[in-house]
């Protein structure tokens, strides 16, 4: 209660100081990574992480960018992440609508089957999944990289279901009485009301598609199909770890994700303003 006497200005100052303190904890490791990406390997190894580079030499960045196929990797990754994002949001949205809003026999059971698949570690499903891909003759193609994630995932379906269920029944029933089919209800009623969570799901799908590592590595061999995480990982080995290159590569790969997230963030805010903050 003592805080109240400080008045609005004092409270806001404390509020922002807390935000900045949290941001400092979240960002500090990135500052270390940025500093290191401008240093030589011997500086990285001998200096403290928070010591800024003596000069901002860009040799790590140019070496990564000029390394044989890095731009190909970035292009592949962008394409795959976009495909995964579009497919995952669209198909998960449909599945989530069925689970949240359509009555059908066996719905709860099916929902639990979806959920249950999240509970088995990827490490052991990796080999069976690889065998499935082999039988589909899709190994070493782009299909193999995104097919398991593009048709909607239980995770995204669960997320959207939780939000679709909060939409008031009278709104949906009113649309039904107007003669809307279920598809129309989803597009015209549910989607506009659920923009924040759909955009959130899109960001998550994009980041997942962008950062996915082990699966793309295992199902593809060709350099022309390689994604950026694998490319970066190839810069290190058990013999020589080129931390400057690894971090420079990671930071380059981070930029598109940041841009996408900032754009979506704007969209989320806009969508809230457009629907009049709330329903």
């Amino acid at each position: 209660m003592g805080l109240l006497r400080w008045g609005r200005f004092g409270r806001l100052t404390i509020f922002y100081l807390i935000l900045i303190a949290v941001a400092a904890v979240f960002i500090a490791p990135y500052i270390f990574a940025i500093f290191a990406s401008f240093k030589s390997l011997s500086d990285i190894q001998s200096q403290r992480a928070w010591q800024p580079p003596s000069h901002f030499g860009t040799s790590n960045f140019s070496q990564v960018l000029h390394s044989q196929h890095f731009l190909t990797y970035l292009g592949n990754t962008a394409m795959i992440a976009i495909i995964i994002t579009i497919g995952q949001v669209l198909f998960s949205m449909m599945g989530a609508y069925a689970f949240a809003r359509l009555p059908f026999p066996g719905r709860d059971f099916l929902f639990w089957v979806y959920l249950a698949t999240l509970m088995v570690p990827n490490v052991v499903t990796l080999v069976p999944m690889y065998i499935v891909m082999e039988h589909l003759h899709l190994l070493n193609t782009y299909w193999a990289i995104f097919l398991p994630y593009v048709l909607g995932t239980p995770y995204a379906i669960f997320l959207m279901r939780q939000f679709f269920m909060t939409i008031p029944e009278d709104i949906i029933e009113a649309a039904r009485l107007d003669g809307c089919g279920e598809q129309r209800i989803l597009w015209r009623v549910v989607v506009p009301l659920s923009k924040p969570i759909l955009l959130t799901a899109a960001v998550i799908a994009f980041v997942f598609g962008w950062n996915n590592f082990l699966w793309p590595l295992i199902v593809t061999d060709s350099t022309s199909l390689r994604v950026v995480t694998v490319g970066i990982s190839n810069l290190q080995s058990n013999f020589t770890v080129q931390w400057g290159l690894v971090l420079a590569g990671s930071l380059i790969a981070l930029v598109p994700m940041l841009i996408v997230f900032a754009l979506f963030q704007k969209q989320i805010v806009n969508s809230i303003q457009l629907t009049g903050v709330n329903r």
Binding site: F26, F91, V123, V124, T125, L159, M165, I197, A262
Partner: protein
């Protein structure tokens, strides 16, 4: 005002959809099928089929390259006899207990702060999600700069105030909290996103009404915000618990199970059985046990929330 007195309204989703009397079950199924087919194909082919194979393989001895041999339940017996699976389970549980409450509270707290209409909130939202974008490859070296006992950032800071910091990842008491910290660092902002979306879906009128009733901020939080966030909270907790039981990357990168076996979580043991020792049958058996444990926790969470979740926010 169902929100203030939760419990009776729409307790399960089953009511939704307005079961009009004329609709036959077949028709319902037909409509649902249209929406479900894409995800069903994906889930069956790339998730259910592999999971069924994993369950079957847990009764076989298979080293990946020679033909599988049926061994009944002996993989499960071996787990308890030789692999100290009980120890791994406890370690994993310890991690879940360290991780979930703190992560969820921080995520919710950040979301509450950033859902205020003040300048620069969008900027902070982006900043807080940045850790989620990190990849294990890069974090391996960065965490070493933070937690190294001698040159790490934390012990250097502690040194300024005269504290001789512990060896962190080299100490069996601290290693697990450090791993939990690294995961909270990475995922608190990520979970904040869900709470932000959830908070935005709460009608502001509810606060206005309760404000007139004279309810304080504190009461508003417990009587309006939290109950109406239940659908989001269920999602965040269920997926958080599922993910935490399967924690792998951070442990692999930071301690690889050490010191000793003090951070040897289930998923690390599963990985080592499968790809270091080639005992895929044992790895599958461990996965089945882990699956059952996660299932119990998930069912319990659903049951708990079922009684107190209000889905409709009218």
């Amino acid at each position: 005002m169902t929100a203030v007195a939760p419990s009776t309204n729409v307790s399960t989703p089953a009511k939704a959809g307005g079961a009009a009397p004329g609709r036959s079950k077949r028709r319902q199924l037909g409509t649902a099928a249209f929406f479900l087919v894409p995800s069903l194909v994906g889930v069956l082919a790339f998730l259910v089929l592999p999971v069924v194979l994993v369950i079957l393989l847990s009764f076989f001895r298979w080293d990946l390259l020679s033909a599988p041999k049926f061994v009944g339940g002996s993989n499960f017996v071996d787990l308890f006899q030789y692999d100290h699976i009980g120890h791994s389970l406890l370690v994993t549980l310890y991690y879940v207990v360290l991780n979930i409450p703190i992560q969820t509270i921080i995520a919710l707290g950040l979301a509450m702060m950033l859902s205020r209409k003040l300048p620069a909130m969008g900027f902070f939202r982006v900043l807080y999600v940045v850790p989620f974008l990190a990849t294990p490859v890069a974090m391996a070296v960065v965490w070493n700069w933070v937690f190294d006992p001698k040159i790490g950032a934390i012990n250097t800071l502690l040194g300024y105030v005269g504290i001789h910091g512990p060896a962190w990842l080299g100490s069996s008491a601290w290693a697990m909290p450090v791993i939990a910290f690294a995961n909270i660092w990475q995922y608190a902002g990520y979970n904040m996103l869900f709470f932000l979306a959830g908070l935005q879906a709460i009608p502001k009128q509810l606060y206005e009404v309760s404000g007139m009733d004279g309810a304080g901020k504190f009461q508003q939080f417990f009587r309006i915000t939290l109950p109406l966030l239940n659908p989001t909270l269920l999602f965040v907790l269920v997926t958080g618990v599922i993910g935490s039981f399967q924690v792998f990357d951070t442990v692999f990168v930071l301690t690889n199970g050490g010191p000793g076996d003090s951070t040897e979580v289930m998923n690390l043991q599963i990985y080592q059985s499968a790809f270091v020792g080639f005992h895929i049958g044992e790895a599958c058996a461990m996965s089945v046990i882990l699956f059952l444990i996660i299932l119990i926790f998930t069912v319990a969470q659903f049951a708990y929330f079922r009684r107190r979740t209000v889905y409709e926010m009218t």
